[in-house]
């Protein structure tokens, strides 16, 4: 049984790329909320969403390879091509992500291995063209996006273990994707 009760998007915690609000423009009709993972479509920012209908995985098919990826710093919820604030994800950028399990029941840090790469899992948001919260899927290592750098049980041994604060990992986006 799946366990996909995560609550936040990935957050950049180390080596974030440049932050800008006057360089990149949004796609006119693909809308998103801040924190969403973004990529380019015809030179305009658009959310990274699962390209396979009905699925929720975020894999290399969805991000592309040798691309630029961004985190949206502000909502884009009104249609129109606007400059938007984003922070770029570089090859050495470290993000902290929550865990989920698309097929098993244990999205615990013990279920992931540092150095192994995983795909993401997206809670789709019907209001904003499918963009939604993304977590690391402990059950999916096919065409992965995120390589686990460290698990929270190591880097944050003392914390409130009853919340999702505990089941997190530090990841890097694979260098072939953000080349």
């Amino acid at each position: 049984m799946a366990s996909i009760a995560f609550t936040i998007n990935p957050r950049i915690v180390r080596n974030g790329g440049p932050i800008t609000s006057d360089v990149y423009k949004s796609h006119a009709t693909t809308l998103w909320l801040k924190g969403t993972l973004l990529k380019f479509a015809s030179g305009l920012l658009t959310p990274v969403v699962d390209t396979k209908s009905g699925a929720a995985e975020i894999d290399t098919d969805d991000t592309g390879t040798a691309v630029q990826l961004f985190v949206a710093l502000e909502d884009h919820i009104v249609a129109g091509t606007d400059f938007v604030a984003v922070q770029e994800i570089l090859s050495d950028t470290v993000l902290e992500m929550q865990l989920c399990a698309s097929s098993t029941t244990s999205p615990a840090t013990a279920a992931v291995t540092a150095g192994t790469s995983y795909a993401g899992y997206q809670l789709q948001n019907a209001s904003y063209e499918g963009s939604g919260l993304v977590a690391l899927d402990v059950d999916d290592t096919t065409t992965p996006v995120f390589r686990v750098v460290e698990v929270s049980s190591n880097y944050k041994p003392f914390t409130n273990t009853t919340t999702k604060e505990y089941a997190k990992v530090l990841v890097k986006v694979l260098p072939t994707i953000v080349a």
């Binding site: 957050r11 950049i12 609000s21 801040k34 924190g35 949206a72 710093l73 922070q87 003392f158």
Partner: protein
């Protein structure tokens, strides 16, 4: 017309922007115009209890080694002046190691946010980091107690190689046999408290000689507060209707340890802040803050850094405990 018939509707959580730097996009609502009041809702009045149960020390190296040696122990034999006299020796006791680990957390603030912040969204971040440092200590200490009685693993072992609370504990003196500071798992009753007090009195020293201790305070799980209060404030035994005297009436002070997640009770037998408490919080570096500007002159950074480890010699003088059933 006034609306006095509102129905509840949960709001969505407020997501972070996902950036590693504080920019004005993080505070779209707080920095909006026309607000009557904007403030940081903090929870710094959370109880800070853990350090009350630890003595404190400082170490210089990442791994600190401690070693004890024993007293001669025993009693003096009868011996006439002109007879051959016995000479006795003492020997090493148990030793232990404490490993300290560094902890760091930082913030970055974009200059534009500093310039446009007229409500104080960037004020008090140092105190937030300080609070996080305090809570790290709190959970580190709580982890010691939560995994101290019959755990599958623990964050530390006492110098005798056993958990903080354990039975069949070895003594350094091979003649002394074993001892225990673990009470049987049970509900908290006047009888269980009397048994714990009796067992405290029966404590032996490292050489196996009586070393009577007295319980001075109970450290309890929040679920047991009502039970303990009833026992301590009833002159008759609250567990029966026989009007028998409650021998534990007003006997001990007690304190709820709010970060205790394992249902357990700890019997404190001496001042935990004194040298007698060998459960010790070792600082290699107390929390310190540093503010700097890096490659980009318009991004200010600040971090908190501290280094500590927790170790335990012998819990014999201060700690007894046991798991509690409902």
């Amino acid at each position: 017309m006034a609306d006095f018939s509102m129905t509840a509707s949960a709001k969505s959580a407020i997501q972070y922007s996902g950036a590693d730097t504080h920019t004005r996009e993080l505070f779209v609502e707080s920095l909006a115009r026309g607000l009557d009041m904007v403030w940081k809702r903090d929870f710094t009045d959370k109880p800070k209890q853990g350090m009350l149960y630890m003595s404190e020390g400082t170490v210089k190296q990442p791994t600190a080694k401690f070693q004890t040696f024993r007293t001669i122990g025993g009693v003096v034999g009868q011996n006439r002046d002109t007879d051959d006299m016995d000479f006795v020796t003492r020997a090493d006791g148990f030793g232990f190691e404490v490993v300290t680990y560094p902890y760091r957390q930082g913030i970055k603030i974009e200059r534009e946010l500093e310039e446009t912040d007229d409500v104080g969204v960037i004020r008090g971040m140092q105190s937030d980091l300080a609070e996080n440092a305090l809570m790290t200590q709190e959970y580190a200490v709580a982890d010691v107690f939560n995994r101290s009685i019959a755990p599958t693993s623990a964050p530390l072992l006492a110098d005798d190689g056993m958990y903080l609370i354990d039975s069949d504990r070895p003594n350094a003196n091979p003649e002394a046999g074993t001892w225990s500071n673990e009470e049987s798992t049970s509900a908290i009753t006047p009888t269980s408290l009397a048994t714990a007090q009796l067992n405290a009195r029966n404590t032996t020293d490292e050489n196996g000689f009586p070393y009577p201790r007295n319980i001075v305070k109970l450290l309890i799980h929040k679920n047991d507060e009502k039970t303990v209060e009833e026992i301590m404030k009833s002159d008759k035994n609250p567990l029966n209707a026989n009007n028998t005297y409650n021998t534990m009436y007003n006997r001990f002070k007690w304190e709820v340890y709010d970060y205790l997640t394992t249902r357990s009770i700890f019997y404190i037998m001496d001042d935990p802040k004194s040298e007698k408490n060998e459960l010790r919080f070792y600082w290699r570096k107390k929390p310190e803050f540093k503010t700097w500007v890096g490659d980009n002159p318009d991004v200010t950074s600040q971090r908190v850094r501290f280094i500590f480890g927790i170790g335990c010699g012998s819990p014999r003088k201060v700690w007894r405990g046991g798991l509690v059933t409902a």
